[in-house]
Amino acid sequence: MKVAYWPGCVSRGFTPELHGSMAKVAPLLDIELVELDRACCTGAGVIAEHNQELADTLNARTFALAQEVEDAELMMNICSTCQGAQSECQERLDASASYREHINQTLAGEGLSYERGLTNKNFLWLLVEEIGLAELRSRVVRPLAGLRVGPFYGCYIVRPRKRLGIDEAHPRDEYLHRVIEALGGTVIEYAGMRKCCGFPIITMNKEASLKQAGRHLGDALDAEADCLVTPCPLCHLNLDLQQPLAEDVVGRELQMPVLHLPQLVGLALGLEPKELGMGRHIVRPTSVIDWSTSVVGAAA
């Protein structure tokens, strides 16, 4: 399937291993990525707080660019925060024709126009709803047997439920669980798996932010998870990049590897940890998980 691909800013600048691993995984799932390299940042909710119309216009421009990608079935992102910010803007744009017209007047100078009804899915949603768990399972060449994986959803992809299309037919707040199982791993539940990682408050109250991250990591450690997996690069920043500082704040050693979702999928589809950029993590999965006896061993 062909998708208009929105990687987001963080995956390009702060977590390039996420952007890179998605590029490696896509062909293994027959996903053709057409990167929206003309689009700007979503504003991550910050611009919307400053000026709602500005955020809506910038995101409407991105949506319009996505709608111009020939034969694309939908728009796909790999960032939960982008999903949350974009869904918020799209909710308003889709709710009112007159508001949409007002926004489109600003885009008219570029010859762009957003038409109501774009489908914009995080890679996690696309895996379950478009590719399907059975198909995903059939493509696994290296089951994550013995790997105990803690899902970390973060905020933006699970709240608010209605805006994000979470209902009985689409239990998107369970999808990480299902994907981990489909890849052959064991789901490890812990208290913080759907809570905020703390990233949004890190510039305002660093200690509280690190305490949040440290608590979630500690909970996962207590539940005997081998690693966490997240669909959000901003969560990854707080849980991995800041993990040494979080250890200091909570006063315990954590050493919990945090994988991006495409990395976990890539492992099960046969890619090597190095190809997936795992050496770039602050807590390197390869130094914590004995790959010779887990997923790598299973493939041998």
Binding site: C9, F14, A39, Q52, D56, D94, A97, H102, R280
Partner: protein, 93 residues
């Protein structure tokens, strides 16, 4: 940085947009930020997605058009119509 975790250039300056796109984004900022009063669609006020059916759509966001006129809320909180007779699209459009 030693591990290649960060790309300092992109992290500090952002993804480099082609010049025409950068100009277009800058023009959006100037136009919208330059308005004397701000337009803000407040869905809690207009209540658009509570009493209508979700369209079959393509849209996963689930928001639906409302039957009444949309409104915009200025920066001072005053709600003013942004369009008269805002007949909205029907579900499934």
């Amino acid at each position: 940085m030693l591990r290649g975790k960060l790309n300092p250039k992109i992290a500090l300056f952002g993804h480099k947009l082609p010049k025409r796109d950068l100009d277009a984004v800058r023009a959006i900022y100037e136009k919208v930020e330059g308005r004397e009063s701000r337009y803000e669609l407040n869905l809690y006020v207009t209540g658009s997605d509570e009493d209508t059916e979700t369209p079959e759509p393509k849209s996963e966001a689930g928001a639906t058009d409302e039957a009444g006129a949309a409104s915009a809320q200025g920066a001072n909180g005053a709600t003013v119509p942004i369009a008269s007779g805002g007949a909205e699209e029907s579900a499934g459009s």
